[in-house]
Symmetry: C2
Subunit: 363 residues, 2 copies
Amino acid sequence: MNEPLFSYSSLWQVAFDTFRAMGCADDHAKTASDVLLSADLRGIDSHGLARLSGYVRLWEANRINSKPNLRIVHESPSTAVVDGDGGLGLVVAPFAMKVAINKAQAAGTGWVAVKGSNHFGIAGYHAMMALPHDMIGMAMTNASPLVAPTFSVERLLGTNPICVAIPAGKQPPFVADFATTTAANGKLEILQRKNEDAPQGWIQTQEGSPSTNANELKLGGALIPLGSDREHGSHKGFCLGAWVDIFSAVLSGANYGPWVPPFVSFLAPPAHPVGEGIGHFFGAMRVDAFRPADDFKHHMDQWIARFRAAKTVEGVDKLIIPGDPERESEIERRAHGIPLNPKVVDDLRALAKKMKVKVNFPD
Amino acid sequence: MNEPLFSYSSLWQVAFDTFRAMGCADDHAKTASDVLLSADLRGIDSHGLARLSGYVRLWEANRINSKPNLRIVHESPSTAVVDGDGGLGLVVAPFAMKVAINKAQAAGTGWVAVKGSNHFGIAGYHAMMALPHDMIGMAMTNASPLVAPTFSVERLLGTNPICVAIPAGKQPPFVADFATTTAANGKLEILQRKNEDAPQGWIQTQEGSPSTNANELKLGGALIPLGSDREHGSHKGFCLGAWVDIFSAVLSGANYGPWVPPFVSFLAPPAHPVGEGIGHFFGAMRVDAFRPADDFKHHMDQWIARFRAAKTVEGVDKLIIPGDPERESEIERRAHGIPLNPKVVDDLRALAKKMKVKVNFPD
């Protein structure tokens, strides 16, 4: 798979111009492009430019408001609820995370639930906003219902990711960013493109039987919570996905469970919504609200160094600390360019043409 | 397995008298007994009276302080660090959770990290303390290192449980309380007693190979993070366990990772500790810091009702909502008594004799 490489700046410009063409204000288009491209940099290709046309289609279907009035609708010293006004999650989420950081400055911690939003890109971008402030950052979101809880044949939850970003001193930060299912949908998409089967334990059929068909979701099948089956703890993965759903949507007043509006424009949102848009939940905790920041960082360095030095199974060099692969991808791709699947490039060119946006990378 | 049944009050009294005999003050002995017995009531037999002799042995080894000076050593409007002074986790944890609840009353949320503690019983007890206040409760703790991160052959983490307790209206509360490993240690103990093999994916040998030997931990093997293997997301289980460890111990100044002092008295604590005792982390969030409590409860009722009504796989009546099995166990056992394994009963009688405590249940 030798995919052509594209410079960060040329891809960023296409995203920015496209968001501007949707009617986004300059600062919103800039933020949305930063968030979207951070996925491509960090190697989470399913959540980056490959999704740009999806956002545009939702906007065309009047399901994304490119000029949202973002505002706090409820608050306490350490909490807030933000109404995203149907805006791009890529813009709503950083706004809400800033509110969480501001609350934490004053109260030690800040916790913000969001309603009226849309897909927010990668959770990691938002949680990591806390790091330069010597804060721990958290981000979670609910998502299109594609996941069947343990023993269910209905798709009631999204892949509902969680990110926890923790600052260190000399070591790079600890950044755990993961879907609460055995495998994220993006991994299935890769198998679909390669026409390969999925491992056992990732998906089930419409009747709830095990399946290895990477296209099973199109036949009414479902993704499975982390753990794969009851004997291996899938009820715990269900707990995680449910927790994310409730914090993101029941606390905020967004849609939850099977009522979450799907990301794809060709599926209509449920006819009788129980809330507004999709929901997110963010947290920021000042580490010096617990102990002096230097003490904390010293011990985080020791934690990371000890785990990184762990004795490993044969054939594996060293333990992977959460955040390592994404950070290494970002260094590599900033230096040498971002690989894009040819289908994504074609899609991007067609999109640019439709939106009357100039594409400044070579054929 | 028709085990003899014992009344809650008779078992509670044995625990209370034993804690008093250790030198605990009346109110501490009462709290510790409430917490310990809540595990027996809720069907988490591994964390209840079966552990009483373990606490006594740690006290005999001068590793539990029965007269701790519990105090807040650092705080902000929404946070605190509690020093457990080497006390019983069964007493330290409810103290810290009360601090979190008080912080939440004033600031919307309260977050408390604890150092200098010991095993705190079931996470669920502490998290559920928030429910009568119309608050969401959270509890987590690190624990004896028995778990190998993905690709590691070293035991660096505990089973590090998380509990999230969320109030509802007419429905019972949502209470997710789970170890962040594929299987908790208590499940292995049950297999050991029955002389049965463990399923694939629960444990590995000292060299990191898959094992089904329920006694593998005694041979240097390890429990495995939720997910079982890399292909099924064990790196996500590692993220969860690491998150719990860092929040519980790096934020508070307790021991983390392989430095956590083991619960069993026959294993000495590490010679060069990096902190004090074991660590916990608690949270309380007022639901009306996000939206009116009645709105929240109405939507939680709808969430629970919708999931409970989900179409299930053949042979399963209805979806299990987190907290259902434990609540049903408590109703059953309060009415008809608590079953105890004959080995646990013998152990309890021997303990009572040693501590000069009267046992008021029949032979």
